[in-house]
């Protein structure tokens, strides 16, 4: 299984050499007692290490790097608290199927199980939130485990893998031979879709009059955007995306009907509900998408293309399952399809688009509406990578930015992790230095990882954070307004910090916009500065995200701004 020469190195050095063999160029991490041997060897290596200020940020940064580049992100921490601080970032990557490899130090083997200083059973802790994990018991196994970890993380349905390395294992000398193949008899993902099923799907498409393509994050992770668009254009079907699927098709494509689900476009939800055929690609029928499952798309047959067989018929009953990689399956499906009789349907959808456009009211001329800010970013920074935190601003970023290329919208879709955006933006910028990277944030979310201002300044990573500052934990406040009689329990965070001064304290650029006319110049100045920057935009504090489907309702039971 192994080829090439053998050399004698210690476990830590072996690990670094293995990372290099995997093409890793950047690590996000934080040293500590049980990972010192690794950091000692890192001192002599060419790998770039970004020293974060909190381990959680290293996992998010590795995640942002992975989503922006398509490569596997790597984060490093010490044992115990260092490792547990990674947990939120690992869970975020797991829920959104992002390939990362997390390396954690562990107490020496002789102390494992003794409640030693800074010991935590991190493989036990991360079992439900990793695709797989390893505790390295035998230093000689490091090469095989690293090879397997990168293979598992990046193939099939991608996901996080953790390798826990006892300190003594890092110090012991081994014969390093890097394997060139992985052999795992329990892990053989299916990439090529079953031809019979693909032909059946083509038949269903030919018979459909009201088809809709429902694209998820799987389209982006399998780089299947071109095939997705070709499918839509060939059969003439509208495309709706999940939050994770945003940027898989350009926002301005005539067949795009926007995001569906809880905060989806009204016309996307109407279209899915009235469709007779759903072609789901790399999407998992999450509850934020389906609303009340029993009322979801009542008249539709469902074709479901997914690389993970366990997603098929998990939440909704599927008529034609196709297990395989989105890109490969779509490529073969395209061979068999032809335009379906959907002209009337498209006309109807275009009518809905005109009748129910996304929109908001300007509450007064002087107040800055958050939706306006996102539109300004969209116009000022075309083709930027947009990263978000979680909350109202996340939904506005999904609704009002024009995305034109894949991997330009990075957000915590599944876990909904506040604090994700800023470190993920940092990772994205490290991976794609050629791109403008904007973190659209709320004042609540930003404070969950604002310490990373130090990291971006120290490492000269010029990401721009635009804070839609409404002085509230906005999304919770919105729910309290709509469903809890405006009892704003613990959601007012006014007066928390002066973000401009905070930026300046860290040595970053801090700007503020308090009037609509100040928004665009501030964004442009921040981007032009080439420095890490914060634009603190004081927005209307009680603006809400609409349309909205209340949790548990059918997705065409929509609350509109006007109705409320």
């Amino acid at each position: 299984m192994t080829t090439g020469s053998t050399e004698k190195v210690n476990g830590a050095k072996a690990l670094i050499k293995c990372l290099e063999k995997e093409g890793v160029d950047t690590l996000f991490g934080y040293p500590g007692g049980q990972i010192i041997p690794f950091y000692n060897e890192l001192y002599d290596s060419d790998l770039r290490h970004i020293l974060v200020r909190h381990e959680q940020a290293s996992a998010h940064a590795a995640d942002g790097y992975a989503r922006a580049t398509g490569k596997t992100g790597v984060c490093v921490s010490t044992s115990g608290p260092g490792a547990t601080n990674l947990v939120t970032g690992i869970a975020t990557a797991y829920m959104d199927s992002v390939p990362i490899v997390a390396l954690t130090g562990q107490v020496p083997r002789s102390l494992i199980g003794n409640d030693a200083f800074q010991e935590a059973d991190i493989t036990g802790i991360t079992q439900p939130i990793t695709k797989h994990n390893y505790l390295v018991q035998d230093p000689q196994e490091i090469p095989r485990i690293v090879k397997e970890a990168f293979h598992i993380a990046s193939t099939g349905r991608p996901g996080p893998v953790l390798i826990d390395l006892p300190k003594d294992v890092q110090n012991i000398e081994i014969d390093l031979q890097y394997p060139d193949k992985v052999e795992l008899r329990g892990y053989k993902p299916t990439y090529k879709g079953n031809t019979q099923q693909i032909k059946r799907a083509a038949g269903e498409i030919a018979n459909s009059c009201r088809p809709i393509i429902y694209a998820g994050g799987g389209v982006i992770s399998s780089n299947a955007s071109a095939e997705l668009i070709e499918l839509a254009e060939t059969i003439l079907a509208p495309v709706t995306t999940t939050l994770m699927g945003i940027s898989s098709i350009p926002t301005e494509h005539p067949l795009y009907v926007g995001m569906l689900g809880m905060h989806g476009c009204k016309y996307a939800n109407y279209a899915i509900q009235e469709s007779d055929l759903i072609i789901a690609v790399g999407a998992r029928f999450d509850d934020r998408v389906t609303g009340k499952v029993e009322s979801f798309a009542p008249n539709a047959r469902i074709i479901h293309i997914d690389v993970d067989p366990a997603e098929i018929s998990k939440n909704v009953k599927v008529h034609i399952p196709i297990v395989g990689d989105a890109k490969q399956v779509l490529k073969s499906l395209i061979k068999y399809i032809k335009r379906c009789n959907s002209a009337e349907w498209i006309e109807k959808i275009n009518h809905w688009k005109k009748e129910y456009p996304l929109g908001y009211s300007q509450m007064s001329p002087d107040v800055i509406m958050p939706q306006f800010v996102v539109k300004q970013i969209s116009e000022a920074c075309k083709d930027a990578i947009i990263v978000t935190e979680v909350g109202q601003h996340q939904m506005w970023a999904a609704q009002y930015f024009n995305y034109s290329t894949p991997r330009t919208f990075l957000t915590s879709g599944g876990l909904g992790t506040m604090g994700y955006g800023f470190p993920a933006a940092m990772g994205a910028k490290v991976g794609r230095p050629d791109k403008t990277v904007i973190n659209i944030s709320g004042d609540g979310s930003f404070q969950m990882n604002s310490q990373e201002l130090a990291t971006v300044v120290q490492n000269d990573i010029p990401v721009v954070t635009v804070i839609l500052n409404n002085g509230y934990l906005g999304m919770v406040r919105q729910w309290q307004e709509l469903f809890y009689d405006r009892r704003y329990s613990c959601t007012c965070i006014k007066g928390s910090v002066d973000f401009v001064k905070l930026a300046e304290a860290y040595g970053a650029l801090g700007l503020r916009a308090e009037k609509p006319s100040e928004v665009r110049p501030a964004i442009e100045e921040a981007v032009r500065s080439g420095r890490p920057a914060i634009v603190d935009v004081i927005v209307e504090c009680e603006a809400n995200v609409y349309p909205m489907v209340p949790a548990g309702a059918a997705i065409n039971e929509i609350i509109d701004q006007e109705e409320h």
Binding site: P128, L135, Q137, G186, A310
Partner: protein, 161 residues
């Protein structure tokens, strides 16, 4: 409905915990679980009896298959398989009741594996129904302690899982 799943896994530390944890975190209930190494020392076989409709069992199977250390999952319940459990039942016994307990054990093809002045221990193998039946009969004497292995199962004929 009950399903018996035969799960072939890599014989490595921590695998059983991955399998069992999958059940608990996804809200599936394990009725019984038995595990041991197979004819291949690198492979262990876990037999799990799970309660649920076809949808639940399909999901359990698919989720199990996602675990890297799981090699194969087969649903082998029903007439196509031989199913067995082992139970050790320690029952109160004295000179007056000893003969009757031995008789019951014999009828069920059990064995007396320990005798003490005030107790006897019966070893019994069989399917769930048989073990329940002998347990019911022995209850009248007073069961002091009862231990069951959980079900194991093998497909009939030359077919393998």
């Amino acid at each position: 409905m009950k399903h018996t799943l035969a799960i072939l896994v890599e014989n490595k530390a921590g695998v059983l915990s991955r399998v069992a944890a999958l059940f608990s975190r996804r809200g599936y209930n394990i009725d019984s679980l038995a595990v041991g190494v197979t004819e291949d020392p690198d492979i262990s076989r876990i037999t799990i009896v799970v309660h649920g409709d076809d949808h639940v069992v399909e999901q359990v199977t698919k989720q199990l298959n996602k675990l890297i250390d799981v090699i194969k999952v087969s649903d082998i319940g029903g007439d196509e398989a031989v199913e067995r459990e082992l139970a050790l039942i320690k029952v109160s016994a004295d000179v007056d009741t000893r003969a009757e307990i031995i008789q019951i054990a014999n009828i069920f093809r059990g064995r007396i594996v320990d005798v003490a002045p005030k107790s006897m221990t019966v070893e019994i193998t069989g399917d769930e129904g048989k073990i329940q039946a002998i347990e019911k009969l022995l209850r009248q004497f007073g069961i002091k302690e009862l231990v069951r292995t959980g079900k194991i199962a093998i497909v009939r004929g030359s077919k393998k899982v």
